[in-house]
Structures are given as structure tokens and as C-alpha cells.
């Protein structure tokens, strides 16, 4: 990587191609069950034998800068931090509904402005059909 960056920047620059061989351990996404098209044992092999985190951990332990105690502390601290942030994010309100119409162009066009107003009027007319409480500013963010 460092060498590639060096090559790319010197003498007016030139492109560099890095092909990094790896294996996708997880499913493609939460909507994908990858065991429908590959064997579990294949995944387990990569997970156990050639896992970048495991390899780095072994390397660090061999150099004496990591041990079981640090591993335990790190796991607990990271888990705690993530869960704390997760809970904070869950309690946060979603962005204002107005953001639905913004940033399509640099400025709000007359069309988008009219449509924003149209949505506001609709929400005023059918308040029981929509839960706007979870959005910052509720439906009032749609006012110009």
C-alpha cells in the first residue's frame, strides 16, 4: 500500500492496481442467506484458519504487545462503547422530514417547494395516518 501510494504520486503519477485476495465470511447482506449457495464448512475453514484478526493477534502476541488480559479488556470496552452508542442512536429522532426534499439540487426548486407544501397539507389533513413524532420538528419542518 505504501509503495503503491509512492508510485502513484511520483514523477507525475501513474495508476497502480492492487488485487487483495480474501474470502467473504459473512453473508452478502442481511437479506442474503449464503448457505443457499455454499457449504458451511467452507466458511468455517476461512474463519478459523485464515482470519485477518486472528493472524494479527498472533503476530502481536508473538511480539509481546498483546495478551489475554488486553484482549479481554478490549472486548469488554468495545462492546460497552458500541452498545452505548447503539442505544443513544435508537433514542435519537430521525432527521426532519424536510430533508426528503433538500439536496436534490443546490437550491430547492419551485417544484420541490410546491411538493413539500403539498405533503404538509396532506399530513395536516390526515394526522392519524402518519406518525410524525419520531422525526425532528414533526411536520412543521415542512413549512417554508
Amino acid at each position: 500500500m505504501a509503495q503503491a501510494r509512492k508510485m502513484a504520486l511520483q514523477d507525475g503519477g501513474k495508476p497502480v492496481l492492487l488485487e487483495c485476495l480474501s474470502y467473504r465470511v459473512g453473508h452478502h447482506s442481511t437479506s442474503d442467506d449464503s448457505f443457499a449457495y455454499r457449504a458451511k464448512v467452507e466458511v468455517e475453514d476461512w474463519k478459523r484458519r485464515d482470519n485477518p484478526i486472528s493472524r494479527l493477534r498472533k503476530w502481536m502476541e508473538a511480539r509481546g504487545c498483546w495478551d489475554d488480559s488486553k484482549e479481554k479488556d478490549a472486548r469488554e470496552t468495545i462492546r460497552k462503547d458500541i452498545l452505548k452508542t447503539f442505544n443513544e442512536a435508537e433514542r435519537e429522532k430521525k432527521p426532519p422530514i424536510r430533508a426528503l426534499f433538500e439536496d436534490v439540487y443546490e437550491e430547492l426548486t419551485p417544484d420541490l417547494h410546491a411538493q413539500m407544501k403539498q405533503l404538509k397539507n396532506h399530513l395536516d389533513k390526515y394526522p392519524e395516518e402518519y406518525d410524525v413524532g419520531e422525526y425532528e420538528g414533526g411536520k412543521s419542518s415542512l413549512e417554508s
Binding site: A99, D103, V104, Y105, E106, T109, P110, D111
Partner: protein, 441 residues
């Protein structure tokens, strides 16, 4: 892709052309010959005297036997006299949309490609972040729009790209994302489709997707020749503006004349939204007028009333406006039986920006006249006319004023044929007939 590649010049020939500083074919040729080069190389045998003919002969019927002997309506457009062009310096400078310092300045006689060239030259001169690239732009471009720009501004700012539309577009998006103002040229609008994913899913959505981070590709301008040219057939005649109007995040602009092209293109380059700029190629050499020599912008998303009228509103853009003007002139001479508050008269509006478009100007006009006809070259189905008609109907103040249905005069729902082009485009007779039908409704 295979069908597309079959219709284009083999890449080796184009590569050869682009490697020469001034290939003989393009130096001697008019844009119609440039089109011929791609469509039917055999037509290079055309007599050279054809290309020295006066501009008014460069029309859709340049290669036919001319108008039928008894034709009264479908006569070639006389670009030398049409009121849509500013034939004198005074006519050009009387445009109220021009800034005061421009209105007091000098003008120069330019055709459309020269005006485009002038706009890009000004942009390149005033802002170092402006670059121009595409296929064959370095030697001047296949329509001469980039003549001399590489020599003047350097080959790091005006350069050829590999022959890959998706690459050209992605490259431009990357530059714009870093704050540059790239002008990407797609050689013919017909070949923008390989770049469609880059335009739709990247350029148009970049700012929206980036949200609070504030990055955008507003500096991007994509230029492309469009429209019929007499003999462009399936892949050198298309007008894809409708496709772009269904993409939030893009501005779509289409000028009618040299002066309009210069002002609108400069506005596009300086705009902070990505702009698709379509240039009606039949006008590259045919439309000649006085153009202010200094820099000026014309407003985006603003239509222009070209001619006031009381009885019918005609809405169009690009080359079809010239057909509209001819039809209107004839209709105003012929229709004397139906009129209110004086002689029968037609209002003509140039949309200029196809999206986001100027609804208010059109609605105001239709509320006055009570009738509307929309004219465009591309297919009638899902065309710009459909959007205009629906908008008129939805507006309660305008709908109640309608005396006749909104009419559309447009290309048929077919591909652009080689042999039948004259039966496909919205010609003067068809527009005249629509005016008559609307009045008689």
C-alpha cells in the same frame, strides 16, 4: 452494445482521425459531412461545392429534391430571415435578459458551433478548474465546437479520452466531486446511454446521498449534439431530453440559437448543479446571428416568450421553434374568421430549460390564450408535451380557461428512420394543422 458498435465508425478509423492535428476530412467538411462520416462513409464522395452552399440550404431536406412544387407550408426554413435569430447587432443587444454592460457592448456574427466554442473559451480562460474532454475534442471536435481550445489552453485542460462514454461520465463526476468544473462531451446524444448509469445513479444523486457532508458534483456539465440532421437515421438523430427530465438532480438545457447557446452554456458551467446541455446539431452551421462578444449568462429554468399572442400558445424548444414560427406566420395570415380582441394571433414560448422547467410562464400564457400546443421532435409518448399538458390540467386556474384540449405535435412512437425522416419530424404543415384544429375545436 453490438448494435451500437455496428452503426459507428470502426474505432481504428476514429483513433486515426483523432491523432491528426487537423484531419483533412473534418477541416473541409460541414457538420452534415461529419455525420455522413459516421453513418455512411461512401457519402464522402459528395460534391465539395455542397459544403460551400449558403447556411439556409443546410436544412432537413439538404439531400432531398427540395420542397414539393406545390408546397405552401413545408418550405425550407430561411435562417437568414427568421425573426428567431438576431440578424443585426441592435437586435441582439435589445434582448432585455442581457446585463446592461453587455447591451452596450460589441457583437460578432456567429453560428451555433462558434457560439459554443466562444462560451467554452471564456469559461476556460476565466476559471482554471474548467476542463474539456471527450472523444476527438482535441483537434476541434467532429462539429468544430472545440476548435483551437487545446492550442490556447493546453492539452492538460482540453484533451481526448478513450472511446468509452461510461468512462467519460465517471471521470467527469470524479473531477466535479473534487471541485473542478469539467465539460464532458458525448459525441452524439445517441451514445449517452452507455453513461446512463453514471448520470442517473451517481451524478444526479451525489449531493442528495452525501447529505450533511456537503459534497456534490455541481460543477459537471455534459454537452451532446442532439436532434435530426436530415439523414442521421437511428443513431445520429435522437433527442433524449425526456429521459433526463425524469431524473431529479439533473438540469436539462436545450438552446435554440447561437446567442442563447452561449449564455445558457456559461450559466450551465457556472451552475452548482450538474447540467445536461443538448445542442441541436442541424443548427450548428445553419443558425447564424449576432452574438455579444463578452461573457454573459442567460437564466436557467426560465422560459422565454418569443412572440406575444392572444389566441393560442405554442410551446417548444430547439430547432422545432423555427418550424413553429413558420407555421404561426402562415396561420396568422390564413385564419381571419376566428379571433377575439383583434386579429388572430399566436404566442410562442421557448422552454429553454426542459427541467426544472418554468411552469409559471407557460401557465400564465395559457390562462390568457385558452389553448396550448406543445411541439417537440422526440416521440410523443411520455414526451415533454405530456408533462406540459398534465401540468396545465392540474392547475385549477388554467384548467378552467382551456377552450380546447392541449395538443401535442411530436415525433411518432418509432425510431428515427433514415428514409422517412420528413414524415416523422413535426414539420410546418403538422404544426399549422394543430393550430387550425385547436381553433376549430
Amino acid at each position: 452494445m453490438k448494435a451500437t458498435s455496428v452503426s459507428r465508425v470502426p474505432r481504428v478509423l476514429r483513433a486515426a482521425a483523432s491523432s491528426q492535428p487537423c484531419p483533412p476530412l473534418f477541416a473541409a467538411a460541414s457538420p452534415t459531412a461529419a455525420s455522413q462520416f459516421f453513418v455512411a462513409p461512401r457519402r464522402r464522395q459528395q460534391s465539395p461545392s455542397l459544403f460551400s452552399a449558403p447556411p439556409s440550404s443546410v436544412s432537413r431536406r439538404a439531400y432531398s429534391s427540395g420542397a414539393p412544387p406545390n408546397a405552401r407550408l413545408n418550405l425550407p426554413i430561411d435562417y437568414g430571415t427568421t425573426p428567431l435569430l438576431a440578424h443585426t447587432s441592435q437586435a441582439a443587444l435589445s434582448n432585455p435578459e442581457l446585463p446592461a454592460e453587455i447591451r452596450g457592448g460589441a457583437t460578432k456574427r456567429m453560428n451555433l458551433y462558434q457560439a459554443v466554442n466562444d462560451a467554452m473559451s471564456i469559461a476556460l480562460a476565466e476559471d482554471e478548474s474548467v476542463l474539456l474532454f471527450g472523444e476527438d475534442v482535441a483537434f476541434g471536435g467532429v462539429f468544430r465546437c472545440s476548435m483551437n481550445l487545446k492550442d490556447t489552453y493546453g492539452d492538460e485542460r482540453v484533451f481526448n479520452t478513450p472511446l468509452s462514454e461510461q468512462g467519460i461520465m465517471g471521470f467527469g463526476i470524479g473531477l466535479a466531486a473534487e471541485g473542478m468544473r469539467p465539460i464532458a462531451e458525448i459525441q452524439f446524444a445517441d451514445y449517452v446511454y452507455p453513461a446512463f448509469d453514471q448520470l442517473v445513479n451517481e451524478a444526479a444523486k451525489f449531493r442528495y446521498r452525501d447529505g450533511g457532508n456537503g459534497r456534490h458534483v455541481g460543477g459537471l456539465t455534459v454537452r451532446m449534439p442532439c436532434g435530426v440532421v436530415g439523414h442521421g437515421a437511428l443513431y445520429h438523430s435522437q433527442s433524449p431530453e425526456s429521459l433526463f427530465t425524469h431524473i431529479p438532480g439533473l438540469r436539462v438545457v436545450l438552446p435554440r440559437s447561437p446567442m442563447q447557446a452561449k449564455g445558457l452554456l456559461l450559466a450551465a458551467i457556472r451552475s452548482n448543479d450538474p447540467v445536461v446541455f443538448l445542442e441541436p446539431k442541424i443548427l450548428y452551421r445553419a443558425a447564424v446571428e449576432q452574438v455579444p462578444v463578452d461573457a454573459y449568462e442567460l437564466p436557467l429554468s426560465k422560459a422565454e416568450v418569443l412572440k406575444e399572442g392572444a389566441d393560442v400558445t405554442v410551446v417548444s424548444y430547439g430547432q422545432p421553434l423555427y418550424n413553429c414560427m413558420s407555421a404561426i406566420k402562415q396561420a396568422e395570415a390564413d385564419f381571419t374568421e376566428k379571433s377575439k380582441d383583434g386579429p388572430f394571433s399566436v404566442e410562442l414560448i421557448d422552454l429553454r430549460t426542459i427541467y426544472p422547467w418554468d411552469k409559471e410562464t407557460v401557465l400564465r400564457s395559457v390562462r390568457k390564450t385558452g389553448r396550448c400546443i406543445v411541439v417537440h421532435e422526440s416521440m410523443v409518448n411520455q414526451g415533454v408535451g405530456a408533462e406540459v399538458a398534465a401540468t396545465i390540467q392540474e392547475d385549477s386556474d388554467t384548467f378552467v380557461r382551456l377552450e380546447a384540449p392541449v395538443m401535442r405535435v411530436a415525433g411518432w412512437s418509432t425510431h428515427m428512420p433514415l428514409a422517412f425522416e420528413k414524415f416523422t419530424v413535426p414539420d410546418v404543415a403538422r404544426i399549422y394543422d394543430a393550430i387550425k384544429t385547436s381553433m376549430q375545436y
